[in-house]
Amino acid sequence: MNTIFESLQQFWGYTGFANMTWQHLVMILIGIAFITVAILKDWEPLLLVPIGFGMIIGNIPFIEGLKIGIYEPGSVLNILYQGVQQGWYPPLIFLGIGAMTDFSALISQPRLMLIGAAAQIGIFGAYVAAMHLGFTPAESGAIGIIGGADGPTAIFLSSQLAPHLMGAIAVSAYSYMALVPVIQRPIMLLLTTDKERRIRMKAPRPVSQKEKIIFPIVGFILTAFIVPSGMPLLGMLFFGNLLKESGVTKRLAETARGPLIDVVTILIGVTVGCSTQANVFLTGNSVKIFALGLFSFVVATTCGVLFVKFMNLFCKEENKINPLIGNAGVSAVPDSARVSQNVGREFDKNNHLLMHAMAPNVAGVIGSAVAAGILLSFLG
């Protein structure tokens, strides 16, 4: 009888109930909240569902030593997590993004590329703020990249500069990307006049197949020569786009933008979610990171909108740009471009800004990869 009781007691010691702390419970609830929001509000479901469920997986309490935790070398989760930690997953996601993105809007209106550059100021605004909050330069760089509104870039940079903060940074980046409509709209309305919101932009010129093929080759060579440290992200982004546009690698492009990106998204989402183990995630630093992430989104959106207004000072009347596309420079493809479209239509039902907003939007992807490369070369 005694042996049975002792065995049961030993088994109880291994259960999640015996090892649970309030922090585990909080993280599990946050995971459930992510899944709920993704399903009910349709906010970035492809990311929030895997991350949310990953949070639940990662916060089931257990006794270390059984090779099951994500931070225990040799465990299945740990092996899958290597893709995040060593930075394999983000370039693969960029390959898929390149293969599914149509850069025509940008090729036909290259001047809109500068909006994508202006919005990257949010990254460095958060960098300075993080430095003042006591983070080291490497940690500040990793936190600042949240302002690039690009999950894979944030994971790539934080895995190199501040792996101990990666969970908080990734969750913060994806959360704010999902909240783009909520964050950006009031800023856009605050910074624009009624007249500016009604500006109709000229239809972009048609782009030839030859230009579309030249775009990724020239784009990669120029950006990689300027910032070689951004090569893994930029190389895969432009390579994916070449697969799409070359017209002779249809199967490869379909794999990159279909099964490959889906597999990597599942792995990156679940493992990043798992990495938010309560004892690593629930710290004062995470709260600061969330605050800084919000700050970087606000600065990025503000700079994007204000930069369009600045550009308009030098544009002829017929070439004016609607400042409502300025927010799209923060990346978050294609959600921020959709925000431009929706806000624009609130003031002029027949003014479709989506096509124009896609230009700074994809420029933002290039800009954030360049910014990550610069930070890596300074701090990595």
Binding site: Y71, P110, Q120, F124, V128, M131, T136, G367
Partner: protein, 130 residues
Amino acid sequence: MNSFMLLQVSESVLAKSAEMAEKDPHGAIITLVSVSVVFVALIVLYFAYTFIGKLSSGEIKLKMPKKKAAPKPATGGPTPEEAAAIALALDQEMNGEVYAAIGMALHQYLNDTVHDMESYIITIKRKPSF
């Protein structure tokens, strides 16, 4: 092995970070340089794509080097003037037999080298030389 060793920052990052904290404690220099580089990168792309766009739409036309005149035949070959004179002389002197001989020679040459099947009909059209 401590599980959280996996979360440690590499030595080089720590060293560079410490150096940067000393040189640029407020982050102003790195911000200024980085923002400038981002702008430069995208401005370079802007100029490149504007140029490519103009080239593609025909707004700018690249001056292609003019085609060089055909090189003179190897030493001993006739000049165009000499060839014209020879053609003129042949034209005056040739009868049907000469055409047949040329046709036969061409047929044998082509049959041996280029084509598998020939129609055996070769038409020689008289054209005024120059």
